[in-house]
Symmetry: C2
Subunit: 461 residues, 2 copies
């Protein structure tokens, strides 16, 4: 392992250049004009896997963008198998004007690499790829069987992943799954994520008159769809942030005293978070409650609202309609289908009779939660401690990665969320960046982790 680590350290600069070649491919999955580039990126990665010595690397089609599936098979069949997940598609680069350097021309400034996809998720794919290269170059083999799946549709919600997983079910058998697509708690603190929130994403539309009408002629007698929508939404949540939908909290599993203690012990400073979003006051400022509200309690937020005249100046109309997107983050054991139904029923119930109200369930996903007393987490801790020089922390995430739950249920094996991003690295924003220290230490950690995993006893198929 010393030589593997030395190889990683020696090749630091080249590893950045290798990643840069991948960043230069604008594999934006949401834009049909970039379809060819997305495919080109999968083909590029296929070559990269074969180049470092993987036995197979296959571009597997879906109804949308393809998945790259690569495999290295150990000569000793008793060795365990790890499945690694990443994605090669990226977010659109808009607003392009706010980038300091072009999004698809990766640039190092200080100890950071800037470019679209450097952290989400190409950089994290390369952390594994280069750790694997180090093992293969130094030892001519990997310490265990490795399956590596790189998806091309994560940024559009993995719409074709479920049928794909079903179709290729057999190839995924593994003892554990590593997913590297989450952030660390903060700089210098390696982190393992053991919980994600679920999601229920709804849309409410309120319709009134057949077209926009004059607010002088009709104001006072005709109900206003924008006002009606506002009244409805104002009744979904009170001023303290408590969701008012009957039954919303019914299935929420309370936090154990043990977990509360763990969360409170994390080195979290509320003021650091204020700086990140540049606000002077949060909804919650008590540090213990802050962490719980950020990760472990459900939420309700308006993601967008529009109705009537929104240009410059004044226009005196009652709009014909108004629309809002409202989503809820869910926690164990809330069920997104059940929550969507409660939401619909409640909105219909409180909707005024003077307008027409419709509610759509746009999409949803289950929360994820794993008890990290499984021995594999001990191995992960050891590896991260070697890579970063300090013990990792166990954290949860406020966001949702719906497929984690699907994959865990399919495999029925532990999923280890091992992320190397930082919370302020602009994953979906302009000037996305990657801390190069994390890039390096992440690689070391992964190399150690494969080694640790190979030592674990697993029941063989």
């Amino acid at each position: 392992m010393k030589q593997v680590a030395a190889y990683i350290t020696k090749n630091q600069k080249r590893f950045i250049q290798d990643l840069n070649a991948c960043i230069r491919i604008p594999s934006v999955s949401s834009q049909s004009k970039r379809k060819k580039e997305v495919k080109r990126c999968a083909e590029f990665l296929k070559k990269e896997f074969l180049k470092i010595g993987f036995h197979t690397a296959e571009i597997q089609p879906t109804k949308g963008h393809p998945v790259l599936f690569a495999e290295w098979k150990h000569p000793d069949p008793s060795k365990p198998t790890v499945l690694i997940y990443g994605h090669y598609d990226v977010q659109p680069e808009d607003p392009i004007d706010e980038w300091k350097t072009p999004p698809f021309e990766p640039t190092v400034r200080g100890n950071e690499l800037f470019g679209r996809g450097v952290i989400d998720d190409k950089g994290q794919v390369y952390i594994h790829l280069k750790a694997l290269e180090a093992h293969l170059k130094v030892n001519k083999e990997l310490p265990l069987n490795v399956k590596f799946m790189v998806e091309g549709e994560e940024e559009i919600g993995s719409p074709n992943l479920e049928p794909y997983l079903k179709k290729y079910r057999k190839q995924f058998d593994a003892d554990w799954m590593i997913i590297s697509d989450t952030p660390m708690l903060k700089k210098g603190i390696p982190s393992i994520c053991y919980g994600l929130r679920g999601l229920s994403y709804m849309e409410i539309e309120v319709k009134g008159p057949f077209q926009d009408v004059h607010s002088g002629q009709w104001g006072g007698i005709l109900d206003n769809p924008a006002n009606a929508l506002i009244q409805i939404i104002s009744k979904l949540k009170n001023d303290k942030g408590k969701v008012l939908i009957p039954g919303f909290y019914k299935d929420v599993k309370p936090l154990s005293a043990k977990e509360k203690k763990l969360l409170s012990s994390l080195p979290i400073k509320v003021s650091d978070y204020k700086k990140m979003v540049q606000v002077s006051k949060f909804l919650e400022e008590n540090p213990a409650e802050f962490v719980r509200k950020m990760w472990a309690y459900p939420t309700l937020d308006v993601n967008g609202i529009v109705g009537g005249y929104t240009g410059e100046g004044a226009k005196t109309i009652i709009p014909e309609s108004a629309k809002a997107k409202v989503s809820m983050r869910l926690v164990p054991n809330q069920d997104h289908n059940k929550i969507a139904k409660l939401f619909k029923d409640y909105v219909k119930k409180i909707a005024p009779k003077t307008v027409k109200v419709s509610v759509k369930d746009l999409h949803g996903g289950e929360p994820f939660y794993i008890h990290f007393d499984h021995p594999v987490f001990e191995s992960a801790k050891k590896a991260l401690k070697k890579g970063f020089g300090r013990n990792p922390v166990f954290i949860r995430e406020g966001g949702s990665i719906p497929f984690v739950n699907s994959m865990e249920q399919m495999l029925n094996k532990p999923a280890i969320l091992l992320g190397f991003g930082l919370p302020d690295e602009n994953a979906h924003a302009p000037n996305e960046k990657l801390n190069l220290e994390n890039y390096h230490k992440g690689m070391l950690s992964c190399a150690y982790f494969y080694e640790e995993l190979s030592k674990l006893n697993v029941r063989k198929k």
Copy 2:
């Protein structure tokens, strides 16, 4: 007068053609690309006034589009003077696809003329112009002094009217003012409008994080500007439509028993109004209260709201900001500056401390109310009865024409709002139309009205 009426009847067809020539000029005041067309329309009208025998017709500049001011001076200086107001600018034609025939190619279908500006307000300008032509052609003179002002910026809120009126103050001296820019109660019922609502138009902006941020990462701890804006607006008005801003109703002058009786006696059917806007239920369905809420009580309406992601599908963000336009229609004796201040103070008071809230006063205007016991209203009644064959009704309007108040205060003489539009003639919408029976009967009424006015005793300057 018989011959004047006969002339109007004989020339019905030509009067439509003459109006059509004016409709063909796309004098859209809000579009800078139409600036030349707006000017061309003023020049066209100048020729029309001189052609029928006006002594002067002058294009008077403002900071924006010019005003056309035309005058016919009676040889007998003891004759009274009437000032007529109209406007030659029109609304934009968008959405162009919804027009059955092109907006600037006037077309007769059945007993209606279709085209942008046919009712608002070129058609009403022509009702006066042709009634004046009839007098001049038949009698070689008018029965009184006539001043005719045709504005070019009414559809953009007459931003340059006040300084213009001040600059040309002297030329406006008159005994009464006729404004023809309001609708009739309904088809067949000539109407005189004695009240308009005022307006206070505000904009609220709520700002949160420095940019749109991830709703999973930040939901639960970071206040959401869209939710905050919704909470604020929901507290401006209750579910029954009562405005909750402290002091809002303080200056409202209660309706007299006499006026309540008058309003209740109008031939108004709530169901007719439902058909017009195609809704099944109004906020108020009691007929007496319906009329009062439509015209005589103040309102508060959201004219537009926007924040966050409003495209197709889902985007999981907490928006950096959200904005709404909220306007209030005011009634005697509410003061729009006072109301704007109450609004601002209240919004600031209820605004959560977790977001930044700013409130702008976009514009305002005073309500208008005239006691129609002045003798000039008797003359108007007589004229309308002769023109339409039935007694007119006295109505109010829910809308606002801020300059009416300015002009009335400047002149300190009664303003008679004599409108010939119908409520469903799509004044600001596609397929704007003019009922040709009203075009004709309106002309007859105006011709009779000038005659009646000339008989009134006025104190001479």
